[in-house]
């Protein structure tokens, strides 16, 4: 998969490396906990920040629990000034990405940093050196840890909290990364859509006509038949995304892991499978925006051993009124037939029926014009822009 033709320009003048900051790899449980807890102090007071659950992050970084570690190599680094933690970064070598794209691109991710370009540079240099020593020639990111999870840096749309499984960061991050010689590799878009607005007449007409002519039936996912449904979705997913920029197919274990995670938050009415003559050819998955609930827990399920966070989370999860349409995939050979319009329309109707106010459709590649136009024609407004940066090593 080729990157944009113009090569990124190397930094003209990079910020000086601070002499009193030490960047060290995370090698023990205590340091890992520090790594996980650092954002809490950094984002204190930011109303839009959604503190992730500590335990979820712990599992995410546990090689025994996160199937990403089965093939990829990850090193975490902490930047300290004296005893204070001032930044963190992960360096990621993803052999599956290398194999599929035939490039030498390494990743950085989980980047958090105080507003100091020198520290940002120290972190990025450390990750860069780590990647370079593993034969990489380009660094892409932030990726936490791959395009199958969340990635990109928020560069526009800081006014609202992020949707579930989307990144968020302080407004000064883009300037920090750019000061360190990183430049845009690709932008990712998120669109906002209200569930109460009537979909445009024209779209409804086309969709209904298609439904009739192609014999498309749309049904909700059947959780009682979970393994078989996962299998159907997997085959569509891997066929639909294979030509996308930066895409690496899930391993079976990763997909099952994700499916298991999703199962706890999913509303089956909002996971739609479109069938033509009994064959599943397209699907869309919309999730309640769990971030609204997770935010209430403020990072922990218990306080002083009491399940206060858990109670808040459960209560808040009943009041979720937003959704995120997270994926929509159509099998090769069934594209450009309006299947996407049918799925958008049915999702919108169901969301309205279930009483959701609206939500986000994310993310799409900036140059995936077909999809972006379809979303806009449904009445979607571009609400956030995420940027994947790159830098030659």
């Amino acid at each position: 998969m080729a990157l944009p033709a113009e090569p990124p320009t190397p930094p003209t003048s990079s910020p000086p490396l601070p002499s009193d900051v030490q960047v060290t790899p995370v090698r023990d449980a205590a340091a890992k906990m520090t790594f996980i807890r650092f954002p809490a102090s950094l984002y204190a007071g930011d109303p839009n920040w959604v503190p992730p659950l500590e335990m979820e992050r712990k599992d995410f970084l546990d090689p025994k629990k996160n199937p990403f570690f089965d093939y990829a190599e990850v090193e975490l680094f902490l930047a300290r000034r004296g005893r204070d933690v001032v930044g963190r970064i992960a360096a990621i070598r993803n052999p599956r990405h290398l194999e599929i794209h035939g490039t030498k691109e390494g990743f950085f991710g989980l980047f958090e940093c105080v507003n100091d370009a020198g520290i940002a540079r120290a972190l990025l240099e450390t990750a860069g050196t780590w990647l370079k020593s593993r034969g990489m020639d380009t660094m892409l990111g932030p990726a936490n840890f791959s395009s199958n999870q969340d990635w990109g840096l928020l560069v526009d749309g800081f006014d609202t909290p992020p949707a579930i499984m989307m990144p968020y960061n302080p407004t000064y991050y883009p300037a920090l990364l750019e000061a360190c010689g990183l430049s845009k590799a690709k932008d990712l878009f998120a669109f906002e859509l209200s569930a109460s607005a009537q979909p445009p007449e024209k779209v409804v007409r086309i969709a209904e006509k298609m439904r009739q002519r192609e014999g498309v039936t749309v049904r909700a996912v059947n959780l009682k038949d979970f393994p078989a449904e996962v299998e159907r979705i997997r085959s569509i997913y891997n066929s639909a995304w294979e030509k996308n920029w930066g895409f690496v197919p899930f391993t079976d274990k990763e997909f099952d892991h994700l499916a298991k995670d999703m199962k706890t938050i999913v509303r089956p009415e909002l996971v739609l499978i479109a069938e033509v003559k009994g064959e599943a050819v397209a699907f869309s998955m919309t999730l309640p925006d769990g971030n609204q609930a997770i935010k209430a827990a403020n990072g922990r399920l218990t306080t002083f051993g009491l399940p206060i966070g858990l109670a808040k989370l459960v209560l808040a999860s009943r009041r979720i009124n937003r959704l995120r349409l997270i994926t929509l995939g159509i099998k090769e050979g069934y594209r450009r037939r309006g299947l996407d319009a049918i799925l958008y329309l049915d999702t919108l109707r169901t969301a309205h029926r279930l009483g959701y106010a609206g939500g986000e459709i994310s993310w799409t590649l900036e140059d995936n014009h077909l999809v972006n136009r379809a979303i806009e024609s449904m009445g979607g407004q571009r609400s956030k822009v995420y940027r994947v940066y790159q830098r030659p090593l």
């Binding site: 090698r27 205590a30 335990m55 399920l301 218990t302 051993g305």
Partner: protein, 517 residues
């Protein structure tokens, strides 16, 4: 006031091990049946825990030579080499060994351990010794007895060695000392790179070929022959208690160096010399080693069979490329239980636990003789498989694929096998932190920190409970049944947990990392 003996009476480890029946040391062998099988507590067991690589200790020719020498010269020399303890046999063995090893001179010393202590005499105040962190204890002590400065490099980590060499004063005398074959994990030192670095930084090179002499190389001359770097290796050390079916050690190198040690090493001049029987046995063994290369070939065939046999079952034999076949167990107490079960099933092997290996990497060390029969080896493999499954070290069914071993056959220049990630991570110290805490750590924490730890544990439990899936619940329901099925194993499991508790909170783990056999 403290008493010197306090530490002895406070030492718990021995009593715990004895009380639980998991004490694996100082086992009394009552009889030997051709060295490959021995009798312990009246029971015949297969010996896969000796270093008698070529099986010569039971060879009639070697036995007869020892008897004849004893008849001719008596049972001992009653004195040191320097004074009254040098026999014609000593000189003969030294001459033959010097010729065998292609060296100007050789010096035989009463035990292998003392042989390395003799090094102290040539390591002066301004010299710097670079030694592998996993070198044998005798090398560690030999260096410690000298006035030189020691710089230890991480096991087989050539970048670290280079870093240390670069940091050293250029004008200081330098020597790199390494085991040829590492005794516990069976891997071979990176001699080609060591020699390169030695040239670059003007250092001498010495290899301890205790486990390599008679095993590696076309003629059995050890690591340097195996790599074709005999001229570049300045000093070679070997022992007679392994392939040479005797007791004692040898240092071989330039005449001046050997002669200096002969007259200045305290472990030579203040120790009684090798007994006539021992020398004669070593002499005869040398003859056989030179005349019967098929023994070495058979030994390496056996090593390959065992490595692959274990790996096919799902065991991890790590980085070894030699007849030292370590079988990775992991947990220390499980390792003792494994050893106990092996013993009961008629297999003699040795448990190796920290500090001889990294924490969490306890292993059963097996080593083989050229005289083991295939039937014996198959029995060993079967026994390991049964016990491994019972104790959950290997899965119930064999894995579909495994990576075959690459054995250090002559002219193959294999250094180490691709180790499992687990093992490699352990060597890099990544697994060192298990997240557990000991009483000692706990007592040092403030009450706030303790409360924090407890709340974290509650948080973790809550998270696990909140994430319970239907299948997890089903498993939970089935747990009592499973427990019932495993009831025979329960005492062992309880023992493991209990011993863990004591070992983690007890003392006795601050031994020397180089305490190896």
């Amino acid at each position: 006031m403290s008493d010197v003996f306090d530490k002895c009476s406070n030492w718990k480890d021995y009593r715990i091990a004895k009380a639980t029946g998991l004490y694996p040391y100082f086992r009394v062998i009552e009889a030997s049946h051709g060295a490959t099988e021995v009798e312990i507590e009246g029971k015949r067991v297969i010996m896969v825990g000796s270093n008698n690589y070529l099986g010569l200790s039971a060879d009639p020719r070697v036995k007869e030579a020892a008897i004849k020498a004893t008849e001719k010269f008596g049972t001992t020399c009653s004195g040191s080499r320097l004074l009254n303890g040098t026999l014609s046999l000593h000189e003969e063995l030294e001459a033959k060994l010097a010729k065998f090893l292609n060296r100007e001179a050789a010096l035989v010393i009463s035990t292998g351990f003392q042989t390395n202590l003799a090094l102290a005499s040539i390591l002066g105040r301004h010299d710097i010794v670079f030694s592998d962190r996993q070198n044998h204890a005798s090398l560690v002590d030999g260096i410690r007895l000298s006035f030189s400065t020691e710089r230890k490099f991480r096991h087989n980590d050539m970048d670290h060695l280079e870093q240390l060499l670069a940091q050293a004063k250029p004008e200081a005398g330098k020597i790199i000392i390494t085991d040829g074959v590492f005794s516990m994990e069976g891997d071979v030192c990176n001699l080609p790179r060591i020699v390169e670095l030695a040239k670059q930084y003007n250092a001498r090179v010495m290899t301890d070929d205790a486990h390599a002499m008679g095993v590696l190389g076309e003629k059995g001359r050890g690591t340097s022959e195996y790599f074709g770097l005999e001229k570049e290796t300045d000093l070679v050390m070997g022992t007679f208690s392994k392939s040479f079916a005797s007791l004692g050690g040898v240092l071989a190198g330039p005449f001046d160096v050997i002669n200096y040690m002969r007259h200045n090493s305290r472990s030579v001049i203040f120790s009684a010399s090798m007994t006539p029987g021992s020398i004669a046995a070593a002499l005869k063994s040398l003859e056989i080693i030179e005349a019967e290369p098929q023994r070495r070939a058979r030994l390496l065939d056996i090593a390959e069979k065992m490595h692959n046999g274990f790996r096919a079952m799902g065991f991890d034999t790590g980085v070894s490329v030699t007849p030292v076949v370590p079988v990775h167990i992991g947990d220390q107490v499980k390792c003792f239980r494994f050893w106990r079960a092996l013993h009961e099933a008629g297999v003699f092997a040795n448990p190796v636990i920290p500090p001889a290996v990294e924490a969490g990497h306890a292993l059963i060390r097996t080593s083989y003789m050229a005289t083991h029969t295939d039937a014996q080896l198959d029995r060993v493999l079967d026994t390991f498989e049964t016990i491994g499954r019972k104790l959950g070290v290997i899965p119930g069914t064999r894995p579909t694929v495994y990576e075959p071993v690459q054995i250090a056959r002559p002219a193959s220049a294999v250094r180490s096998n691709k180790a499992s990630e687990k093992w490699a991570a352990g060597s890099a110290g990544l697994l060192a932190d298990k997240g557990g805490i000991t009483f000692e750590q706990l007592s040092k924490m403030s009450s706030r920190e303790v409360a924090g730890k407890i709340f974290d544990a509650v948080e973790q439990l809550t998270w696990r409970a909140a994430n319970l899936q239907p299948e997890d619940l089903r498993q939970l329901k089935a747990a009592p049944m499973k427990l019932w099925e495993k009831r025979g194993e329960l005492p062992g499991l309880l023992l493991e947990k209990g011993a863990h508790f004591f070992l983690r909170n007890g003392t006795g783990t601050d031994g020397n990392p180089a305490d190896r056999i």
